[in-house]
């Protein structure tokens, strides 16, 4: 491990066995990601990258081992949904944008489960869109956006609550070269200027090369970090 500062999120001997297969999806994984770090997780299909991401997000429990977020073990988190809402931003290859909703409505979606919409959420969405160069598209239906624009909206949505950690699962998987480059530059900029740590899963060597550090997983074990 060669993280650069105090750990934002850390795993200690984490293993995951899915009851359906009885095989180790992850085995004895210990890693640490510092605040403000840009880390890429690489590995072949089925190596356990997404399982690791799910465990780090608190979406599935580890079979054994412990995950710490800012020094607090996950077992002590009372409300995992709230933890994710406040601390983790998600960016996925498949966007998961609500069709028919506007750009602004999709960005504030993480807070739309509240009876009254916080005004600051809309202001924040405006600021984020200005930062991403999309301020003129705030009222536009997301169905009318290009793939690159959609992914930028997803990034804005992930940044709504200024999370210290952004988990990105193949965020450039369905983008062309120009848009891939633009999104990666944006993520690097967010990492550098907004201070959010980024953990990105990718297959692509060129994409991986943009990160500060790479973690390679093979057959559920960390092969290289």
């Amino acid at each position: 491990m060669s993280e650069t500062g105090p750990a934002l999120i850390r795993t200690e001997a984490v293993s995951k066995i899915f009851p359906q297969t009885s095989a180790h999806a992850l085995e004895d994984v210990s890693l640490s990601i510092a605040a403000g770090e840009f880390v890429v997780v690489r590995g072949p299909s089925g190596s356990g990258k997404s399982t690791l991401l799910n465990i780090l997000a608190g979406l599935i429990p580890a079979t054994s081992g412990t995950v710490y977020f800012q020094g607090v073990p996950f077992s002590r988190l009372r409300n995992k949904a709230r933890f994710r809402r406040e601390n983790i931003g998600f960016v996925f290859q498949d966007f998961y944008l609500y069709p028919g909703f506007t750009v602004a409505e999709n960005i504030v979606l993480p807070l739309a489960n509240r009876l009254f919409a916080p005004r600051r959420a809309l202001r924040k969405a405006q600021d984020l869109l200005a930062y991403l160069g999309m301020e003129k598209k705030i009222r536009q239906n997301v169905n009318t956006l290009s793939s690159g624009e959609r992914q930028r909206v997803c990034i804005a949505r992930a940044m709504l609550s200024d999370p210290p950690l952004i988990l990105a699962d193949e965020p450039t998987g369905c983008l062309d070269t120009a848009n891939t480059d633009r999104i990666l530059t944006l993520l690097q900029d967010i990492n550098k200027n907004k201070g959010a740590a980024i953990l990105m899963v990718t297959h692509d060597d060129h994409v991986a090369a943009r990160a500060q550090r790479q973690i390679v997983i093979v057959d559920g074990k960390i092969h290289y970090s």
Binding site: S50, L53, N54, A57, L59, I60, A81, R82, F83, R84, R85, E86, F90, F92, Q93, D94, Y96, Y98, P99, G100, F101, A104, E105, V108, L109, P110, A112, N113, R114, L115, F116, A117, R157, D169, E170, G173
Partner: protein, 372 residues
């Protein structure tokens, strides 16, 4: 965007589906209102016809089930009035007459009958020695009749001398003439009447005391049957009660069918959004947030459809009643009926919520994170 605007957006995303689902509910509620409105309206008309007139007991010829074939002596009115338990006693003759395409209740009341005090008559009361009639306001309105107009009854011309308002549904379209005139029309013996309506004094109104008094009457006059008015009305309405039960059963079947249709529509909607809903769970929504959103969506659809169904149902039932062959029944709309319909709408919402909510409860957010 607040929680409610999120729900609104979801609802109107497929407006045509929303419209057709709403219409399905509206038709179901309309059908239920017509079935309940008709059965309860007819039953209520019978049930309340005596209570609204403050009649506590009815006297008629012994062992006669059909009141129209009952005949008792008119002298009994005076004899029964003499009992200390009796407040008022009034002899009546009753018939059903054909007027154009409808059939109407036709009463003969003594000129001094206390029953006249129970109706509010504009004009004056009919006299025994004249062909005079007073008519219910519903009859006057439907047939466009006013005081001074004539009606042909038993092939004689009767002058309308009054129009009355009543709180007894059976009488809203009724015609009333003097008892003596009716006896003459029907070639009845002057001393014969069909039955006697009795109002007892307040201290006798308790069911047990009323029953004791009625038994006393039957012992005094073996040729009569004396019955509490509510029991009499319920006995005569046995077939109506059976129809009412069948109507309840049909409403239950209708509501289950509507709820299953709505559940199917909501399941489709949830399955379409399955990945997006899983994503919401991943980014920090609780399952209870999504369940609440689903239930509110269902409630909105049910109440929009239900409101339309209520309006169409009331209008349709009123129309059906106005077309009835015997124009004496009125819809029995009241707060309880409205509450029953609201209850039906809520029941539809709850039943149709159960199946799609199961999908949400079993939704696993990692389904959306893994690349499929």
């Amino acid at each position: 965007m607040s929680f409610f605007s999120f729900i609104g957006k979801n609802l109107f995303r497929h407006w045509s589906r929303l419209l057709f689902t709403m219409l399905g509910i509206a038709f179901g509620i309309t059908g239920s209102i017509i079935m309940l409105g008709l059965s309860e309206g007819i039953h209520g008309t019978f049930k309340h016809s005596y209570a609204n007139r403050h009649i506590d007991a009815v006297v008629f010829e012994r062992d006669q089930f059909n009141i129209l074939s009952s005949r008792i002596d008119q002298n009994l009115v005076a004899k029964i009035s003499a009992f200390p338990e009796v407040q008022t006693a009034s002899g009546v003759l009753f018939d059903v007459v054909k007027y154009h395409k409808t059939h109407l209740p036709f009463y003969g009341w003594p000129e001094n009958s206390p029953l006249f005090k129970e109706i509010k008559t504009s004009g004056r009361l009919p006299r025994a020695d004249h062909n005079e009639v007073i008519v219910g306001d519903t009859f006057a309105r439907i047939n466009n009749k006013k005081i001074g107009d004539t009606l042909e009854l038993y092939r004689r011309a009767f002058v309308i001398v009054g129009i009355f308002e009543t709180n007894v549904p059976l009488e809203k379209s009724a015609l009333i003439i003097s008892l003596a005139k009716m006896q003459e029309l029907k070639n009845e013996n002057r001393n014969k009447i069909l039955g006697i309506n009795i109002t007892v004094k307040d201290e006798i109104k308790d069911p047990r005391r009323l029953q004791e008094f009625l038994e006393k009457l039957e012992q005094a006059f073996p040729e009569i049957t004396a019955q509490a008015a509510d029991i009499f009305a319920e006995e005569k309405a046995q077939f109506i009660v059976m129809g009412e039960k069948i109507a309840y059963l049909m409403v239950l079947v209708t509501i289950v069918a509507v709820a299953l249709g709505l559940a199917n529509s909501m399941v489709t909607s949830i399955l379409e959004r399955r990945k997006l809903l899983g994503f919401l769970l991943a980014i920090g929504w609780d399952k209870k947030d999504i369940l609440a959103a689903l239930f509110i969506e269902i409630l909105v659809i049910c109440f929009l459809g239900g409101a339309l169904g209520l309006a169409v149902g009331f209008v349709s039932t009123d129309y059906i009643f106005s077309m009835a062959a015997i124009n004496v029944f009125t819809p029995h709309w009241n707060d309880v009926f409205i509450l029953k319909i609201v209850g039906l709408i809520l029941a539809t919402a709850v039943v149709s919520f159960i199946i799609p909510s199961g999908i949400i409860v079993n939704l696993n957010p990692i389904e959306v994170i893994k690349n499929e």
